[in-house]
C-alpha cells in the first residue's frame, strides 16, 4: 500500500501543530519542562493550532490547511493521480508558508511594517521556531515526497523519494543556507550597501591572481599535496592488501596514524625536527658544518605537513577499492601470458581509477581548505584559506573580501569536481559481481613492490618519529630546555581526586575532553550514515538536479572551517533558527562538513559493486532488508569503516570549523590544546594530544572490530595466493574454502559461475 505512510506523516504533522510548542522555549529549554506551567494557552509555549485559534495568529492558517487537506488522500476511493496532486500541492504550499513565516518574523517582530499593520504588532523579543514547527516541516516535506513518488518519481518508491527529499532539505538548511548568508556579503561594500563595483574591485585585487598570487600558491600546493598524498596512499594500500611483506599490518595502522593527531601538533613536531634549531639541522651542523636554514617555512614545510596529514584520508578512500578489485581480469590476462608489470599497468591500475580519482579530489579539496598547517609553517606563503581567515579577523575586517575569496576557492573546487566527473563518466568499474571466482589476486610485480616500499618506508619512519616526539613531549618538563621526566603535565590535564565520596575532575582538560568525546561519538555515526545514504542514492538512482545536489553536499567540506563557522553564526544565532551556543550546532557542522568523505568513500565502493547483486537477491525472494544486510552492507564494509573512522577523528581533531562555534559549555579539545601551546605549555599540549591519540586509536580499532571485514572471495585470500605455486591458479585454495560457511550464501560460494547469480 503505497499510501500507508501518508497517515503516519499526517500524525507527525498534527502532533507538531496541535500538541508541541510551536516556538522554541526560552530559558532552560524544552526538556526542562518548565513550559508545561503555562501550556497550552500561553502564547509563548502554545502549539501552532492554539496560537491560530485562541490567539488569532492568522498567518498560521495556511499551515493548518496544508496539514488538513492531505487527509483526503487516505481515502482509498480517490485515485493515485488525484492523491498525488493533492499531496504535492499541500506539501509545497505548507512549506512555502512555513518559510515565509520564518522569514517574516525575526527577533524584533515583523521584518516589514506592512505585516505589522495587517496582522498586528508582535510585542517583545520573538522566539525562534521550536519542535512544533520542526515536526510540521518534516511532515510537510514527507507528504510532498510521497506525492512525487506517487507520480512515479524515483521509480515510484516512497522511501527513496523521502530520503532524497530529506537529504536535499537538510543539506540545503545546514550547508547552502549558512554559506549563502555569508556569500551575500561579497556583493556589499563595507558600509553594507549592495555594490557591484565593490565586488569587481575585490575580485581584481592584485594579490589574488597571477604568478605567485594567492590563487597560484593555493593551486600549486593543492596539486602537489594531492599527487603526493594519493601516491603515498597507493603505496600503502598496495603493501597492505597485495603483499606479504613483514610489518604490513603495522603499515595498515601507520597509514592512518597521522590523521588521529590534533593538526597543530604535527606542525609543531615538524618544526622541532626540521626547524632551524631542530634536530636534523643540529645534526647536519654538527657533523658536516652545514649552516641551518629555514627551508621548512614556506611551501616545502606546508607540503610536507599536508602530505603527512592527508595521506591517511586518501588511504581510507583508496584501500577499499584496491581490496575490491576482482582477480578475474588479472587471471585472464595471465592466461594470455601478459607479464605481471603489464597486468598491473593495464588492468589493476585502471580498475583503481575511481579510488584514485576520489582520493585525489578529497585531498585536493582538503588541502585548499586546510588552515592550520599554512598558519604554522607557511612562512610568507599566502594561500586562500589563511587569507580568508584574516580577511575576517585581521586588522582590516572585511567580510566582503572573505566572501569573495571563498567564492574563488569554491570555484576551484567546482572545476576539479567537474573534471573528476568527466574522467570517470561512462566507465564501468564493477568488479564485485555475483560470480564467485575463488582465485586470489595476483602478486604485485617486483618493481612495483619495490617502489611502494621505497616511498612508504621513509614516510612511515617520519610518522613514527613524530609520534615518539609527541609522546615523550608529554613526559618531560619542557621540550628543548629541561628533559627531566615528569608526570606533572598529566596531573594538570587529567587530575582527579575523591572528595566527600565523589570524584572531583580537577584536571583542566576534562571539560573539553568529555565534550569533544560526546560530540564526536554523536557525530560519527550520523555523518557516516548520512554520507553513505546519499552515496547510495546518488549511485543507484537518477533524479533531476542530481549533479547540483552532489556538488552542494561538498560545499561545506570545501570551505575553510572559519568560513563555515561564521556562516553558521550568521544563520543560526538569531530566530527563526537559534542553535548558537548549543551542542547541536557543533554536531550539525561536523555532520554536514565531513559527510563528503563518507560520501566519496561510499561512491567509490558502490561503483565497484554490481547492482545486479541487489536485483538477484530480490529475485531469490530475499526481503529487501536481507538484501541490505547480507549483500550491500557487507560489501561496503571498507567504506563504512572509512566513513566512521574519518568522521570520528575529524570531529575530534578539527579546529578551524569550531573556532566560532565553541561556547563555554561546549569547549573543544583542540581549542584547549592550541591555547595551552600558545602560552608555552607544550608539555600539557603534548600530554593532552597523546591521550587523544590513544583514545582515537582505540576508537578506530573498535570500529573495525564492530564493522568487520568484507569477505569477498579472492579479496581475502590474496595473501595465500602470492605464495601459491603457479599451478594452483584456477584451483580453489583450501583456505578460502574454510572461510565459506553456508551462512555467507551467495557471496562466498566459490567457483559457481553456472549457478544463477
Amino acid at each position: 500500500m503505497r499510501r500507508s505512510n501518508v497517515g503516519l506523516w499526517l500524525a507527525v504533522g498534527w502532533i507538531g501543530f496541535g500538541l508541541l510548542p510551536w516556538n522554541a522555549i526560552a530559558g532552560q529549554g524544552f526538556f526542562a519542562l518548565g513550559w508545561l506551567a503555562g501550556y497550552p494557552l500561553d502564547v509563548r509555549t502554545g502549539p501552532g493550532a492554539v496560537q491560530l485559534i485562541h490567539h488569532g495568529r492568522l498567518w498560521l492558517l495556511p499551515i493548518g490547511v496544508a496539514l488538513a487537506v492531505p487527509a483526503l488522500a487516505l481515502n482509498g476511493r480517490i485515485g493515485d493521480k488525484t492523491a498525488a496532486a493533492l499531496l504535492v500541492l499541500c506539501g509545497c504550499a505548507g512549506l512555502v508558508a512555513l518559510v515565509a513565516i520564518a522569514l517574516a518574523i525575526d527577533i524584533n517582530g515583523w521584518t516589514s511594517p506592512s505585516f505589522a499593520t495587517y496582522f498586528g504588532i508582535l510585542p517583545g523579543r520573538q522566539p525562534g521556531l521550536g519542535y512544533g514547527a520542526s515536526f510540521v516541516a518534516a511532515a510537510l516535506l514527507m507528504l510532498l515526497c510521497q506525492g512525487v513518488a506517487l507520480r512515479g518519481w524515483a521509480r515510484g518508491d516512497v522511501f527513496v523519494a523521502g530520503a532524497i527529499g530529506a537529504s536535499i532539505a537538510l543539506v540545503g538548511l545546514f550547508t547552502l543556507y549558512p554559506i549563502a548568508r555569508l556569500f551575500v556579503r561579497a556583493f556589499l561594500d563595507r558600509d553594507g550597501n549592495v555594490s557591484l563595483p565593490a565586488l569587481a574591485a575585490r575580485f581584481a585585487s592584485g594579490r589574488i591572481w597571477g604568478y605567485g598570487g594567492v590563487v597560484w600558491n593555493t593551486l600549486e600546493l593543492g596539486l602537489m599535496t594531492a599527487v603526493s598524498a594519493t601516491l603515498m596512499a597507493l603505496c600503502f594500500a598496495l603493501i597492505v592488501t597485495r603483499t606479504r611483506l613483514p610489518g604490513r599490518r603495522l603499515a595498515n595502522v601507520l597509514a592512518v596514524l597521522p590523521m588521529i593527531t590534533p593538526p597543530f601538533v604535527v606542525g609543531l613536531a615538524l618544526i622541532m625536527l626540521f626547524g632551524r634549531s631542530g634536530v636534523l639541522n643540529a645534526v647536519l651542523d654538527f657533523a658536516f658544518g652545514i649552516r641551518p636554514t629555514r627551508w621548512i617555512y614556506g611551501l616545502p614545510g606546508v607540503w610536507l605537513a599536508q602530505t603527512l596529514a592527508l595521506t591517511p584520508v586518501a588511504y581510507l578512500v583508496l584501500v577499499g577499492v584496491v581490496q575490491g578489485i576482482s582477480p578475474v581480469f588479472e587471471e585472464a590476462a595471465q592466461t594470455l601470458r601478459a607479464s605481471r608489470l603489464r597486468i598491473f599497468t593495464t588492468i589493476t591500475l585502471p580498475l583503481m581509477a575511481p579510488g584514485l580519482v576520489n582520493a585525489f579530489l578529497i585531498v585536493f579539496i582538503e588541502s585548499l581548505a586546510d588552515f592550520g598547517n599554512p598558519l604554522i609553517l607557511g612562512g610568507n606563503l599566502e594561500v586562500l584559506s589563511v587569507s580568508i581567515y584574516f580577511a575576517i579577523v585581521g586588522v582590516q575586517q572585511d567580510p566582503g573580501r572573505a566572501a569573495m575569496l571563498a567564492i574563488v576557492l569554491l570555484s576551484l573546487s567546482l572545476a576539479l569536481f567537474v573534471i573528476q566527473r568527466r574522467l570517470l563518466a561512462r566507465r564501468n568499474f564493477v568488479t564485485i559481481s555475483g560470480k564467485g571466482h575463488g582465485v586470489p589476486n595476483l602478486a604485485l610485480p617486483r618493481t612495483v613492490t619495490g617502489l611502494a616500499v621505497v616511498f612508504a618506508l621513509p614516510w612511515a619512519m617520519l610518522a613514527v618519529v613524530v609520534y615518539a616526539m609527541i609522546f615523550t613531549g608529554g613526559f618531560v618538563e619542557k621540550w628543548g630546555l629541561n628533559h627531566a621526566l615528569t608526570v606533572r603535565h598529566y596531573v594538570t590535564a587529567f587530575g582527579a581526586e575523591i572528595a566527600n565520596g565523589s570524584v572531583q575532575w580537577t584536571g583542566g582538560a576534562w571539560n573539553s575532553f568529555f565534550t569533544t568525546l560526546t560530540i564526536a561519538a554523536v557525530s560519527a555515526p550520523l555523518t557516516a550514515g548520512f554520507g553513505l545514504l546519499v552515496a547510495y542514492l546518488l549511485s543507484r538512482y537518477r533524479f533531476t538536479g542530481k549533479g547540483a545536489f552532489e556538488f552542494v553536499t561538498m560545499l561545506s567540506f570545501a570551505m575553510p572551517g572559519t568560513v563555515v563557522g561564521i556562516g553558521y553564526i550568521l544563520a543560526f544565532n538569531a530566530p527563526p533558527i537559534e542553535l548558537a551556543y548549543t551542542g547541536i550546532i557543533l554536531v550539525a557542522c561536523f555532520v554536514f562538513r565531513d559527510m563528503t568523505t563518507s560520501l566519496r568513500a561510499g561512491l567509490a565502493s558502490l561503483s565497484q559493486i554490481d547492482s545486479s547483486l541487489d536485483e538477484a537477491s530480490a529475485t531469490l525472494r530475499a526481503s529487501s532488508f536481507a538484501t541490505l544486510r547480507r549483500v550491500v552492507l557487507p560489501l561496503m564494509r571498507p567504506a563504512i569503516i572509512a566513513a566512521l573512522v574519518y568522521s570520528f577523528i575529524s570531529a575530534m581533531t578539527s579546529i578551524s570549523a569550531v573556532i566560532f562555534l565553541t561556547s563555554p559549555r561546549f569547549d573543544m579539545a583542540t581549542v584547549n590544546i592550541v591555547g595551552r601551546a600558545e602560552v608555552g605549555e607544550y608539555g600539557y599540549a603534548s600530554a593532552y594530544a597523546s591521550v587523544l591519540i590513544v583514545l582515537m586509536l582505540l576508537a578506530v580499532l573498535l570500529i573495525r572490530a564492530v564493522v568487520g571485514h568484507r569477505r569477498v572471495l579472492g579479496g581475502q585470500s590474496l595473501v595465500e595466493r602470492s605464495l601459491a605455486p603457479a599451478t594452483e591458479v584456477g584451483v580453489q585454495h583450501p583456505a578460502s574454502r574454510q572461510r565459506s560457511p553456508a551462512s555467507h550464501g551467495l557471496l562466498v560460494r566459490p567457483r559457481a559461475p553456472t549457478e544463477p547469480a
Binding site: N108, I271, I569, F660, R665, G680
Partner: protein
C-alpha cells in the same frame, strides 16, 4: 530499499539526538559570559578569582581579539556574550561607534592611573583600560653570540645588514601588535622616513608571522634571532627558561591599551557590570602576577610582576592611537606598507 529504510531510521535518530542536545542550550542568565582575549591560563585564573571574590558564576570563551570582534558583529541581532574582555582599544572604539557596546562608568574608575582614566573618559566609558603593554623586541642571546652579531638596542639597529634574515615580526594586516609597531615607527620617524626604515628592515625580516607573539616565541625556540613584540611577551619567554633578552628601544616606543567593555544587549548586564568592577579592582588585576603576566596594570593599587619591564627603563612616546586607528587610517597605512615594504625587493 531496506538500506534506505535503515538510513531513514538513523535520520530519525538524528532528530532525537539533536533534541537531546538542545537540552543543554544555555540561556541561564545568572552567570556572566565573557569573550576573553587573554591567554587561556589568564582567563582561567580570572574566572576562578571572580567566582571566589564575588560569589557569582562566570563562564568564558577564549578568542583572539579579531575573532571576538568578528563574533560580536556576527551576533549583533542577538548577542550571546556580556563582556568583551581584553579588547584592543581601537577595536572597542570601532564597536562602540557601531553601537554594539554599552557605556559603563565603574565606581573603581577613580582608583585607576591618570592615563587609564583619560582614555576611559575620551571613549565616553564605552571601554575602560585594564592594562597597557610596551612595544619593543627581544632576541635569542645564544644565536646572537654564536653568529657574533651586535646587540640591538634601538629601532634603527634593526635595519643593520648584520641581521639579514634574522628578524621576525607579524604582518600588520593580520596582527594588532604589528599594526601598533608600524604606527609607532611612523610617529617616531615621520611617515615617509618611517616607511623607508621599514623597507630597509624588510631585508632582515625572514617572515611576517600571522600572530603578534609568534615572532618572539620563534626567537625563544631558536628559529629566528630577533622577534618584534610587546615587552611582556618577551619577558614571558625568559621566565619560561628560553635564552631571550628583552629590549626597550632607545628612541622611545609605543604601547597598546587593552580595555574591557560591556556588550550591548547581552543576556546578563548586571553580571557584566560586576565583572567590570572586578577586573578594574586590585584583586582582579593581581591575578596577572599569579599566572606570570608582565603587563602594566591600570589600577594604581595593583601589583606589577617583579620581572615586568620597569617604567623607569622605558621611554614612552605620546602615541596618537587615533591617527591610524580609523578605517581610512588603517587602509592607508596598510596599503602603503604593502606596496613600499612587503613587496619591496629584498
Amino acid at each position: 530499499m531496506a538500506f534506505v529504510r535503515l538510513m531513514c531510521g538513523s535520520m530519525q535518530r538524528l532528530l532525537v539526538v539533536l533534541a537531546l542536545f538542545a537540552l543543554a542550550a544555555p540561556v541561564a542568565a545568572q552567570e556572566v559570559t565573557v569573550l576573553c582575549n587573554f591567554e587561556v591560563d589568564w582567563c582561567e585564573g580570572l574566572k576562578a578569582s571572580y567566582e571566589r571574590t564575588t560569589g557569582q558564576k562566570a563562564v568564558f570563551i577564549r578568542r583572539t581579539d579579531g575573532e571576538s570582534l568578528a563574533q560580536i558583529r556576527a551576533e549583533r541581532s542577538n548577542p550571546r556574550a556580556d563582556v568583551y574582555h581584553a579588547a584592543e582599544s581601537a577595536s572597542a572604539k570601532q564597536l562602540a561607534s557601531e553601537g554594539l557596546l554599552e557605556a559603563y562608568k565603574s565606581p573603581r574608575i577613580t582608583e585607576l592611573h591618570d592615563w587609564a582614566q583619560r582614555i576611559a573618559e575620551e571613549n565616553k566609558y564605552f571601554q575602560t583600560p585594564i592594562y597597557t603593554g610596551v612595544l619593543g623586541f627581544g632576541y635569542n642571546t645564544e644565536l646572537l653570540a654564536k653568529k657574533k652579531m651586535p646587540e640591538p638596542k634601538c629601532w634603527k639597529d634593526l635595519a643593520n645588514p648584520a641581521y639579514k634574515d634574522e628578524i621576525q615580526m607579524a604582518n600588520p594586516g593580520s596582527s594588532g601588535t604589528a599594526f601598533n609597531m608600524v604606527s609607532t615607527i611612523l610617529q617616531l620617524m615621520g611617515e615617509d622616513e618611517g616607511f623607508k626604515f621599514l623597507a630597509a628592515m624588510n631585508k632582515n625580516v625572514n617572515q611576517y608571522t600571522r600572530s603578534g607573539s609568534a615572532g618572539i616565541r620563534a626567537a625563544g625556540k631558536g628559529e629566528t634571532t630577533i622577534g618584534i613584540t610587546f615587552l611582556h611577551d618577551s619577558v614571558a619567554q625568559t621566565v619560561q627558561g628560553y635564552p631571550v633578552k628583552t629590549v626597550a628601544p632607545c628612541e622611545g616606543t609605543g604601547y597598546e591599551i587593552i580595555s574591557s567593555a560591556i556588550i550591548k544587549g547581552g543576556p546578563n548586564p548586571e553580571g557584566a557590570r560586576k565583572w567590570m568592577d572586578f577586573v578594574l579592582s586590585p584583586a582582579g588585576q593581581n591575578v596577572a602576577v599569579t599566572v606570570n603576566k608582565f603587563q602594566i596594570p591600570s589600577n594604581k593599587n595593583a601589583q606589577t610582576h617583579p620581572m615586568a619591564p620597569k617604567a623607569s627603563e622605558v621611554k614612552l612616546i605620546n602615541l596618537d592611537l587615533d591617527k591610524y586607528g580609523s578605517k581610512e587610517g588603517r587602509d592607508h597605512l596598510l596599503s602603503r606598507w604593502e606596496n613600499e615594504v612587503f613587496k619591496a625587493p629584498k
